[in-house]
């Protein structure tokens, strides 16, 4: 049971990581806590579901499409709704994203009803047996894809001009402006990337979990904890913390009882916030908010 518990946590951790990176990045770069991030994940799951059920495209294959669609959503929302508010007060964006979340979830109830849907693939139930431990292929694929995405994003941030501009804006918006970077344009891109990653997480989630308009809500708590655990704005931190969180939850559930998993997670969260607000993994990747 120990080994299986460990593997369960490990397999889920990757998905948690991808679900978190975008949220953490948006928070780190712009100081926006995007409460609609869960809704983006939900939208990603529905897009994947649509593509799978209507066109028969496997969610792992359609993921780039879903990410592109969500990129546009995130970009547009930032441009039209969030940039104007940020000029007044960053904390007001929280109210804005709260409204957006209500809007999007209800929109999807109206569009898709609250019936529960699911993507079933031929390999859904198959698993790799390593000794007594079972490794579900879907979960394994999701975990590996998560790591690939995180690595890709890390390269984009550190090796491309856009990435450098995002990092520069995160560190000092005014200085970036002096260097010829338009912060608001960078914000649009950052929000787009954040939403695209949420879409990817939704895509992965669609292969693992039942889909309903409330799907994002079940993630947002974990996303918060992992963001803080990994250090706000840190890509590598979010991935590492995703694994740590999933492992802790997995072990807490197995050895303390399933109903303790949340209390352990929140206790941990509060402890880290108060004792070590920069996260478990050293310094913040991006600037202080």
């Amino acid at each position: 049971m120990f080994a299986q518990t460990f593997v369960n946590g490990l397999l889920l951790g990757g998905v948690y990581g991808v679900a978190t990176i975008g949220f953490s990045m948006v928070w780190g770069v712009m100081g926006i806590i995007n409460l609609a991030h869960g809704a983006y994940i939900m939208m990603g799951a529905y897009f994947s579901y649509m593509l799978a059920s209507r066109l028969g495209i496997d969610p792992f294959v359609s993921m780039p499409l879903v990410m592109a669609a969500l990129f546009c959503v995130g970009f547009t929302v930032q441009h039209l709704l969030l940039n104007p508010v940020m000029r007044t007060s960053v904390l007001l964006t929280l109210a804005m994203t709260f409204g957006l979340e209500l809007f999007l979830v209800d929109l999807f109830v109206a569009l898709f009803t609250s019936d529960i849907r699911s993507v079933n693939t031929s390999y859904s139930s198959q698993a790799l047996a390593v000794g007594p431990v079972l490794i579900s292929y879907v979960r394994l694929a999701a975990a590996l894809l998560s790591l690939t995405l995180a690595a890709f994003l890390y390269l984009v941030l550190t090796r491309t001009r856009l990435g450098q501009a995002i990092l520069a804006t995160a560190l000092d918006r005014e200085a970036a402006r002096l260097m010829g970077i338009f912060p608001e344009r960078i914000y649009n891109y950052t929000a787009g990337i954040g939403a695209a990653l949420a879409g990817a997480a939704g895509s992965l989630a669609s292969t693992l979990f039942p889909i309903s308009p409330g799907l994002g809500n079940s993630f947002i708590g974990a996303v918060f904890v992992i963001t803080v655990l990994g250090g706000i704005g840190s890509v590598t931190g979010a991935v590492a913390a995703g694994f740590v969180y999933a492992l802790i939850q997995s072990f807490a559930a197995s050895y303390l009882g399933v109903n303790y998993q949340e209390i352990v997670a929140f206790g941990l969260f509060l402890a880290i916030l108060i004792v070590r607000p920069q996260g478990l993994f050293g310094k913040r990747f991006f600037g202080e908010v």
Partner: protein, 400 residues
């Protein structure tokens, strides 16, 4: 109260202008229903409303409700309680004090119903709550709330009774579900019944409501290798649980759910994984109980499909049955005074397509029974009680 009167007069005039020509002679019986049309329970709330609506439409089409020489058209005022107790309470108050509803159809879920029951109790508005079955709600001494459905602690009992007669005899049981009002009661009820039937309860677990991953639960269950896994959860977490069990290749001889496996999206979401899963159902279309409005369950199913173009679920059936119970009681009482109707309900015995009813002083239907269906060949088949079964149970479960 002047404000309310002004509003009533204004609304009354408006209504009169719109509806004046056809009806003038007939009286209207107003029933209030604050149910979840948005939020967590929007889906179940919507299904429940379908049932209430079908009853109203059919009753009115047949001339309406006859009581004491008068004929009443039934009108149901619906509000959306957002799946929130606070809102539901506020709306129930509106229904009984402002809209003048003297009868109430209950909301979905026992938690919300517990918040609204106190209001209808204070106003002595008779409430029928087919989808609020937590035992605690009926143990508070309320006089005006009745449910035609069996209570939550019975939720998994029929599966256990069914399992008792199967061979090879199952021995160990695992019971799992979300930590929530209704599932907890069902879980306790099942544990007690399992022990009294001689099963060994090898595992009981509660996961947080809204948990997004249940692999830990599946891993724990796997380690005790039970013959029977019973789950008290709702549709969504039951789907998740079965997926997780499947991923970890946990294959007990019997999987039994407290939720109906006949629900369409349960089967489509799980596909082949749903095969062989048993679920307890408040209502199945093969039941042979009779009532004057729908005739029997087949009649109800036909009427439902004609109106909504989809097969009915137990939510809708219970809603329509609540309507029929009220109808029978009012007709017998010969009045629409809620207190008189309540007294009639307490003294009468009757049956609807949904099942027989006889209420005790707390409003509990002492004759309510439950049914078990199993997914066989992709379709839900009734396997229990034996009198209405469509198929023999597939046991041990062969599905993967």
């Amino acid at each position: 109260m002047a404000g309310a009167w002004t509003r009533r007069i204004v609304l009354g005039c408006l209504a009169a202008i719109i509806a004046a020509p056809p009806l003038a002679a007939q009286e209207t019986l107003k029933i209030g229903a604050a149910i979840s049309l948005s939020g967590n329970f929007s889906r179940e709330g919507g299904l429940l409303r379908d049932g209430y609506e079908l009853w109203r439409e059919r009753l009115n089409a047949g001339g309406g409700l006859k009581a004491g020489g008068k004929t009443y058209k039934v009108q149901i005022v619906y509000y959306d309680d957002e799946s929130k107790a606070q809102t539901s309470a506020q709306l129930t108050e509106k229904l009984v004090s402002d809209d003048g509803a003297s009868f109430v159809f209950g909301p979905y879920s026992s938690g919300i119903a517990t918040a609204t029951a106190v209001i209808s109790e204070r106003y002595r508005a008779l409430t029928l709550a087919p989808m609020a079955t937590a035992n605690s709600l009926y143990a508070r001494g309320y006089k005006y709330i009745f449910t035609p459905s069996p209570l939550a602690d019975q939720g998994l009992v029929p599966i256990l009774e069914l399992a008792k007669g199967l061979t090879p005899a199952p021995k160990t049981v695992a019971i799992v579900g979300p930590d929530d009002l209704f599932p907890n009661i069902t879980s306790d009820g099942a544990r007690k019944r399992a022990e009294s039937l001689g099963f060994t309860v090898a595992y009981t677990g509660k996961y947080p409501k809204g948990a997004n991953d249940l692999s830990a639960v599946a891993t724990q269950i796997k380690s005790v290798t039970p013959d029977i896994i019973l789950a008290t959860g709702y549709v969504q977490d039951s789907i998740l649980l079965i997926k997780s069990l499947r991923e970890l290749q946990v294959s007990p001889k019997l999987i039994g759910l407290a939720t109906a496996v006949g629900v369409q999206d349960f089967r489509t979401a799980l596909g082949p994984a749903a095969e062989g899963v048993m679920g307890v159902d408040y209502w199945v279309p093969t039941l042979t109980w009779k009532d004057p409005l729908f005739d029997d369950s087949a009649g109800f199913a036909k009427a439902f499909e004609a109106k909504y173009a989809k097969p009915p679920t137990f939510h809708a059936a219970s809603g329509a049955a609540a309507g029929v119970v009220l109808q029978l009681a009012i007709e017998k009482a010969g009045t629409v005074d809620p207190t008189a109707v309540r007294n009639t309900l307490l003294s009468m015995q009757g049956e609807t397509f949904y099942g027989p009813f006889k209420f005790d002083a707390n409003g509990v239907n002492t004759l309510a029974g439950l049914n078990v269906s199993q997914i066989i060949g992709g379709q839900p088949k009734v396997i229990f009680p034996v009198a209405v079964k469509q198929a023999d149970p597939i046991y041990p479960r062969t599905g993967q």
